[in-house]
Symmetry: C2
Subunit: 375 residues, 2 copies
Amino acid sequence: MTVAPFSFRLLHTDQTSAARRGVFSTPHGDVQMPAFMPVATQASVKGLEIEQVRACGAEMVLGNTYHLALRPGEEVVAALGGLHRFMGWTGPILTDSGGFQLFSLAHRIEVTEEQAVFRSHIDGRLVALSPERAVAIQELLGSDVAMVLDHVVGLPNDAETIRDATERTVRWARRCQDAAKRADQTLFAIVQGGLDAELRVACARQLREMDFAGYAIGGLSVGEEPAEMLRMLEATVPELPADRPRYLMGVGRPEDLVEAVARGIDLFDCVMPTRNGRNAMAFTDAGTLRLRNAQYERDERPLEEGCPCPACRRSRGYLRHLFMANEMLGPILLSIDNLTYYQRLLADARQAIEADRFAEFRREKLAGWAKKPMS
Amino acid sequence: MTVAPFSFRLLHTDQTSAARRGVFSTPHGDVQMPAFMPVATQASVKGLEIEQVRACGAEMVLGNTYHLALRPGEEVVAALGGLHRFMGWTGPILTDSGGFQLFSLAHRIEVTEEQAVFRSHIDGRLVALSPERAVAIQELLGSDVAMVLDHVVGLPNDAETIRDATERTVRWARRCQDAAKRADQTLFAIVQGGLDAELRVACARQLREMDFAGYAIGGLSVGEEPAEMLRMLEATVPELPADRPRYLMGVGRPEDLVEAVARGIDLFDCVMPTRNGRNAMAFTDAGTLRLRNAQYERDERPLEEGCPCPACRRSRGYLRHLFMANEMLGPILLSIDNLTYYQRLLADARQAIEADRFAEFRREKLAGWAKKPMS
């Protein structure tokens, strides 16, 4: 019997919200959803040895096509056995397409119907990225899930610019689909449309007709109000097929994840746990801790009681000392703690969905975080 | 039956050299000697989670009294349970006394018979360190082995300055011994004397009469020729009691360790494996590799075949990429590899001593390293 290399099984839908419990299967293993992917931009989750990433509870990681294509180059990654072997991650990998980095990192970008041309943020050299090229790079990287190249624009923006970029995103999605060749890699589409619900719905409907293995919602969490983002999810998610995973790109804070899961999102990625960890901020069920604060100097408690991560086998006082003394281990341990926190949050969310009590879970979590505002 | 909290058992002396195989017992466990201690200057082996330090094979680590007294302060470490609990290391810990850092780091130091007064390298504030204070700090830190405060001077230097500092080191050793109160901490003396063999011998004889639990040789590896250092070992070691561990402070390169073991040294510490690792240099049996070199771009091989460390589960090409992309994981993985290399070297040295073939082991190692000069 031949088993399809990719499948999404919907195990249960919560009775108190739109939250879903699913399993996404890939050639490199299963991902329990809703799931959070640590970000390994340059084939490394910053500061973590790969076994530490696994120990945080992660099942799937994200690599950035834009960064890896510029350095070391996809040919080098392929020569060294592909991204899994290169970085030593044996589980599933999703690569983004570079669309978001074109918008956020590249210099002097010019987008035509054919392709985007930009200057590298590393050395200023001129680089071109077309839908076909984005697929070819990701095929050389060998990720399990490749993303279509989308045209991301800043918000707020004029309606015409957003509409034009959204329509181009749909045409580029088709070109990516036509270009994709690897049987052991699948392609997710990306819904764009700024903060225009009608445009998001139209985009989602067109992409749905093209029958992708998964659907992402992109171009959000770029500075808009959280309520605006949730409004876009509420408009878009019902237009996506129920039997495919739904991925909210680049989001976000713990409360954003919980709100998005409540609206039917299955997959997330974000640099926040590692980036904030490097800046001495720890996420807990009672809000965030800023470890440089003098109040922690002699604090014997762990960051959070019951957390099994190595940072929580130390005292807050020790962690503060590491930051005050500029020791690398401070950023490392807080990155591990925050990634573990995100994985624990998603694991608890999955349990809550199975028990049909996600609405209650959401209330509890938001109440805990409200004690100290997340930032 | 009461067991003495500290003991040194000489298991075997090599028949082909003066190399010794011993076991040093402490309240936090045994140390197989000859041994190498990773340096945890500020209660952290730079870049490594404590379980990674253990996995490298280390049994004992070193903490720096000077650094910890300035930041976070020994009172803070004591309030957080002492150095073992603070940093999560359950094995033996040795703390130095600050003598070497006064010489190498402190600003505007003034040494009188009573004490050293200096300005902190962190914030310029005036600090005093006497023998009694060095012991009191180390007792608060709670290390297993404390070092006496020694008076270190730069080399080359005039004979009178070196003699004066050496004689003061002996007087200060006595004051440290008189000040020490903790039954679960022992004190090692430090032989000084610059590059004057007679002075070293006289210093060793005086300290030997005071009956310390261990003897260190200090003030070496500060810029002199390696042959000069070995000449000092050859003069000093025969003056030290055979039934006490001998510790060569701050040394060194792999070949220095092998040459010193051949002359009867039992214990080492050095920042070289971690510092050089952070600078992209890997130690191997065939000499050093500089991982930024373009030749490693597509090199699929591990740093060293047969090394069990996590860095050697990746390719040289991946490690090079991490350094070129400024990823923290590059320094982390090379630090782990180098510490593992040092521990493997010492483990192999212990086996060679047990088999009475240390001279042969020394020749083999030096021949391998000579292929590429160590640096």
